[in-house]
Amino acid sequence: MPITIREVIETLAHSMGLFDTTAEPVNQGVILFIRLPRVVMGILVGAALGISGTAIQGIFRNPLAEPSLIGISAGASLMAVLIIAFEALLFSGLTEILGYYFLAFGAFSGAGITAMLVYQLSKTNGQPSVSTMLLTGIAINALAGALTGLVTYLADEQKLRSITFWMMGSLGGATWKNVSCLFPFVLIPLIGLPLLARGLNLFAIGESQVSLTGLDPNRIKIWVVILSTMAVGASVSVSGIIGFIGLLIPHMTRLLGGVDHRFVIPVSALMGALVLSIADMVSRMIVQPIELPIGVVTALMGAPVFLYILIRDKKKSLN
């Protein structure tokens, strides 16, 4: 549904009580209750995925650790799908808003459990191993994908959006209600993760260095996992799995201004918000009137970067 930029600006100004609008009431409604929450959700989810991608790469000491690749998003989506499938049992008495919160918390716990599991499994002799981490991710993705598929298949079709939604991601489900539920889950990590930036810098030179330098490695690890899976989990619960943002954004941010986490952590939130908003716009406009799943767009941008990092590191180890 095409709406001119003039209409958008007028409608927004009008809703703030600035001046009158010539836009049609239908268009006003579309802008205020469909498009605007979608943009806000894109910003929140982008910031969440960007910042948590950076933090998780920091703690795994690996530029390829990405929530959707190593199964964290899949863990979140599995939990979210389970909750929706058993909705009647679990929160029939709750209001819609509380239901969204419940969903976000469920996805958060799914993401957190998966992150802990992958972290423990990916360590061999106390050292993090890239291949084990990626393999664990593949296994968890496959398992969660299969279970998600099973639950989706068994559940009442009316209740569930298609499995594509969970596997490819979409911002199409944005309403002011779920956006407002997402907000605290993104805000808390946005405040908390920058406080852990120094610890993440030390992780880059080895977990034992953190303690020798006078900081507590376990506290840093636990908070990074809690805060970043909080952001990822809640994002997945409203928008499904949007891949590669957590890989792409930290990489772009490091190219902009170096690898110090005191810079990369906050800036990757901004970059994530920017890139995901643009990706969503592209996904809506490129093959009008059909809407591409946003995961297709982010994968098209992110997968080449993933390959590039793999090839670069392979060359480095040969030299």
Binding site: N62, R198, N201, L202, T213, D216, R254
Partner: protein
């Protein structure tokens, strides 16, 4: 002052350290020598507080090491590990500054900058400050990590500095410069314990040498006392001569070369392809000729 009281340490029921005791005063630079697997790195880990001894105590400045809070301990000891892999393109300045993370005073960040500048200067890294770690050679990287641990102890004289093979990957000049830095800090009042493989570096820079063998302290004394042919044979299984350098009056150890005959190696191949059999055995040379500038120690 560091007092090590009869510490023992086991890993998977295998004793790695047995009943080790010694103490170190402020201003001493102690070199820890011993063959591979003698327990040098394990002892360093225990002294750093990273591993707890199974029995015995370590008293640092009058307090049991195990009772220190993490931050208080970081102020009083720093530990340069043997391997310091780094995967991200941090700059030299950023890595050195990491030493201040746990010990810096947030209300006086200018002190951290002074510490950074002075440490870079002492370690000769001022010109490399903005370079990425990934663009440096292994020896340069190791020196940056040395700077990082020095930066941690910057304003704490009498602190304990543990260096586990700090000269790894370094060329000759870097090796000497690194140990000269450590010796200079010891003169300032730091307690330095350094693990070395090169016996002569220990003889030149350390004021005291401890030799470990099979997890026990075997000898402890000045370089001249400890570095004797008999001790070299017991500790490392090599024949060596000990000399005194006429100019510096320091002990120098010259190991005798080990001669091997490659024997059967490659012999089948040479029969099949009729390549003449080669023998790696070299002719013997007179050891004394090569060191005629030095007088033989009694």
């Amino acid at each position: 002052m560091l007092r090590v009281e009869s510490i023992s340490y086991k890993l998977n029921n295998r004793p790695l350290l047995k009943d080790i005791s010694f103490s170190i005063r402020a201003g001493e630079m102690v070199a820890l020598l011993g063959s591979n697997g003698a327990g040098k790195s394990t002892l360093m880990k225990v002294l750093s507080g990273e591993q707890k001894p199974d029995s015995g105590r370590i008293i640092l400045h009058g307090e049991n090491l195990q009772h220190y809070k993490r931050k208080a301990l970081a102020l009083k000891r720093a530990y340069l590990q043997q391997h310091n892999p780094i995967s991200m393109a941090f700059t030299v300045k950023e890595v050195v500054m990491m030493g201040r993370y746990g010990v810096g005073n947030p209300s006086a960040p200018e002190l951290d900058l002074v510490a950074l500048t002075e440490t870079l200067e002492v370690c000769g890294l001022t010109d490399l400050a903005e370079r990425s770690m990934l663009s440096l050679s292994g020896g340069e990287q190791q020196r940056v990590h040395l700077a990082r641990v020095l930066c941690q102890l910057w304003n704490n004289k009498e602190a304990l500095l543990l260096l586990d093979e700090p000269t790894n990957n370094m060329d000759l000049q870097f090796q000497h410069q690194t140990l000269a830095i450590a010796a200079a800090l010891a003169k300032k009042g730091y307690m330095v314990i350094v693990v070395l493989h090169e016996v002569n570096l220990a003889a030149q820079y350390a004021s005291r040498i401890i030799i470990l063998k099979d997890g026990r302290k075997w000898w402890d004394g000045t370089p001249a006392e400890v570095l004797t042919p008999q001790h070299m044979y017991t500790a490392f299984g090599i024949h060596a001569q000990a000399y005194t350098d006429q100019r510096s009056l320091k002990t120098i150890i010259v190991p005798q070369e080990i001669r091997l005959d490659a024997g059967e190696f490659n012999s089948n191949l040479s029969i099949q392809h009729q390549i003449p059999h080669t023998n790696f055995k070299t002719s013997s040379t007179d050891q004394n000729e090569t060191i005629n500038l030095l007088s033989v120690q009694a």
